[in-house]
Symmetry: C2
Subunit: 159 residues, 2 copies
């Protein structure tokens, strides 16, 4: 056979690295009409699930340094998708909340993301895609990467 592989193993590290880069780059491209970074989509998702969250907590959860978070939030705020409000219980913190426009944007982005994921994994059956996602989540959780938004202990948003 002319194309029988000699080396079957460049390793999981290589696979994850290349696929991770590719997925993020392609998704960014798919989002280009929104002029947003994939990370900003993830930020909007977290704010929907955790209204009132602080920048530091958001940074910890998404593994983005708080200094890098500032610019990402600046842009989302200037475009009216979220607002920063002083947390009156701890005036060092900003409470981040989605605006109506932000929620609408997120709804639209979710469709884009769902379509992208379907396309990106089109070489797998639905069952395989589900299995892959489940395995990745197990590994991610073991490494402290949060893939779900936990119910947390009391964030008084407005009242």
């Amino acid at each position: 056979m002319a194309d029988e592989p000699r080396n079957a193993a460049l390793g999981i590290t290589y696979l994850l690295g290349q696929l991770g880069n590719l997925a993020v780059r392609d998704f960014k491209n798919r989002m280009k009409s929104y002029a947003l970074h994939p990370r900003q989509y993830v930020i909007l998702s977290q704010l929907r699930d955790d209204p009132g969250i602080s920048q530091q907590t958001l940074s910890d959860r998404l593994l983005v340094h708080r200094s890098a978070m500032v610019g990402l939030l600046d842009e989302l705020e200037s475009r009216g998708y979220l607002s920063r409000e002083r947390n009156l219980e701890n005036r060092r913190e900003h409470s981040l909340v989605l605006s109506k426009d932000g929620r609408d944007l997120l709804d639209s982005l979710r469709e884009t993301a769902a379509t992208f994921e379907k396309d990106f994994l089109s070489s797998l059956t639905n069952a395989e895609a589900k299995k892959l996602k489940s395995l990745l989540q197990t590994v991610a959780t073991a490494h402290g990467i949060e893939t779900t938004t936990p119910n947390h202990e009391l964030v008084v948003v407005k009242q």
Copy 2:
């Protein structure tokens, strides 16, 4: 339940992106006694399987731009792990070949990589890890990422 997830889906893109970054960063750290970049390990692997390969072909295969490849190879060459020889059949090309030291280094790195992968996936059973790798390879292949070294059509190395 206090920590029941509200949002089960940050998406495959997020998972792959975060895990890819983490895996490469951690592996780089594991390799720190070698003072090499993970990409240089992959380069050595490719050269073992494809002696005489050109820089351009290597760049295409590993998705590293040829201008970025130069520095990676410079370092490996200056440390005696490989040599660049003019390809006499096409004098624009360099034929890359591992030295004895390079092969020894690669053997050692492969052990490091195997141990790292085992640790990185320690939250999975052996069967699950195998399944994960297989699924990732399917997706990678569908996206044109080469994870195996094909037998190719005639590279006369020396004769």
